[in-house]
Symmetry: C2
């Protein structure tokens, strides 16, 4: 039986993507070869890479606007390091917004590169909200933020107006909602939420911001090097990129980001309405900053834990245990999660109320 | 029809690996979930990671000898940078042997870290041999070499005796031949030759050599950080690691490295004997340094190119066009390539001789 998969990432992808990816592992494009055994220089894979790069820009509305898309290895945590390497000037300054574990990780990697200003942090409140009152130094080389905080269940609903280049880690909500993506100069995202399996990272960068640091950049860390080599500076993660392309194609066929956003809003409303209505549960974040991707909540009375856990497991639900930093539950509702799965969870929550 | 796949990498893997990997994309371990949608923290994947790390050490004969195995992202090109970060002392010195394109790439990434001594280079002869007469500075922090040169078709048949920590890029021949691997202090290898699909890199490191540089190391670049987190400092490349485990299990069932070495020697002998016997062909490297993994050869008369190309394509052979740096042909005979495929190529070479 297929599970209702609320995993925070790696996470559910469309069933048709699983089926096409499995077929490609056996025989890719009728070539008589597995996708795992073809050269990345084979024209069939070069076409995959080109389409994936172009489609990522198209879905974000950034085609023809001076942006390049790359699919690199290392996860968002590698971009924590690539960003200051490529953007922080020698004796420069960077501004960071601290909204959670990943934002904090990005700050740590940037510090050795220059003055790293944390413009605001919600850490003293265990990251239960997104700080909104802060100013970004006008002389910063860039401003870095995290659009969605997977662990804490918060999401930036608006972004600051600034003349400083804006860098955003969108790992856990890219392709899930409409934004004016042209406000950002650099966006990066680990694939393993809304885009594909673990093993590749999408980087979308406005070319004009690069090459200005006066810093020697190692080849493997240099975005300009990767752009020049069309994302094949070294052997790319072939299968992860192909599967990401399948997922982006699925999204395009569905109507793109605007279409999925409506579905994501309906899923989030369904679950948050129940969390707020049902006296047995309570959310962990301030309401206005609630993430549409990751809903974090607690049982009002922890004595109900064993019963609730047995009930959702019996209903075929998987992956809703909360992160150890927050406890309780976390239901991740990425693009590919059907609303029917959310309904099953809500039904279990109601059933618990009826039993107690 | 299944091709005879001589691709230089990504390359052929065992057919049973393709079948098991495809099945796992549909349903992993009967969990009702794809391997692509499970959390890397799920106990089923934690078990995969643990077994892959342990089995890599076991096959190399390094269990219980103070080594740790990691599966990271970035490819060998990322290790070109991680190695000096982790091993070159502040104001330190490193020694490199330059035997080809990848060795040269490793040298470039190391240079900004300190004095980088190239102890010998075969570049003036287009890397057609492995330099053997050189001395390694006794005060070097480490000595770096490349065991097999995929592009040029050469392979180190012996390694220097030195008291300096020895680092080896074994991307294209790891798990293919018996060596005393305990002579090496750090071995790294991109998976996409003998170990798995593109997207993960095996690093085998003797723990005692780490933590001695006096250098601040970014978290994502720090081997000690990755060891402490059991290769899950950040989300690992789940599918690439699982498929690598399947390949390592296949190798173990076959009898391990000693068993595959005999098959690899038989395949290489079959092809090189024909290259040497057949007056239409000539090898590109000195004989004593010929790689058992990548055989590079030319047509003695380029006028036969069109005919030969049409013949091997008709025979179902794929991936033997030479790298642009060498020209001609390159037949890569990694672990999973059956000797029958080599026989098909040899038969085509003989057939060409008969036709002319």
């Amino acid at each position: 039986m297929k599970k209702h998969n609320f995993s925070a990432g790696p996470c559910i992808l469309p069933q048709e993507v699983f089926e096409k990816a499995a077929q490609a592992v056996l025989d890719f494009n009728g070539m008589g070869l597995s996708i795992l055994e073809i050269s990345h220089r084979d024209k069939a894979f070069v076409a995959v890479m080109e389409e994936a790069r172009a489609l990522a820009l198209e879905l974000l509305g950034l085609t023809g606007k001076g942006y390049q898309a790359l699919f690199l290895q290392g996860g968002a945590s590698m971009e924590f390091l690539r960003v200051p390497y490529n953007l922080m000037k020698v004796d420069g300054k960077a501004a960071y917004l601290d909204t959670g574990t990943w934002a904090s990780g990005a700050i740590k990697e940037a510090k050795p590169f220059g003055e790293t200003v944390v413009v605001a942090s919600s850490k003293p409140d265990n990251y239960t909200y997104i700080p909104k009152e802060y100013s970004i130094p006008a002389d910063a080389d860039y401003f870095h933020c995290t659009s969605n905080n997977t662990i804490f269940g918060t999401q930036m609903k608006s972004f600051p107006e600034t003349n400083v280049p804006m860098v955003c880690d969108m790992s856990s909500d890219i392709f899930s909602r409409t934004l004016d993506f042209s406000k950002f100069d650099l966006i990066y995202a680990g694939a393993q939420k809304n885009m594909g399996p673990a093993g590749t990272t999408l980087i979308v960068v406005k070319e004009e911001i690069l090459g200005k640091t006066g810093r020697a950049i190692p080849n493997i860390m240099n975005y300009q090097q990767h752009i020049e080599k069309e994302s094949m500076y070294n052997t790319p993660a072939v299968f992860a990129i192909y599967t990401s392309l399948l997922t982006l194609q699925w999204l395009k066929n569905l109507g793109g980001i605007a279409a999925i956003e409506k579905l994501n809003e309906a899923k989030a409303k369904l679950l948050y309405d129940e969390i707020d209505r049902n006296p047995l549960f309570k959310g962990t974040t301030v309401k206005e900053d609630r993430s549409n991707m990751n809903a974090t909540f607690l049982l009002a009375d922890e004595n109900h834990t064993a019963l609730f856990d047995s009930m959702w497991k019996a209903a075929g639900i998987s992956g809703i245990s909360g992160h150890r930093s927050v406890g309780g539950y976390r239901a991740s509702m990425y693009n590919a999660l059907p609303i029917e799965s959310v309904q099953v969870l809500v039904d279990v929550m109601k059933e618990l109320e009826n039993k107690i």
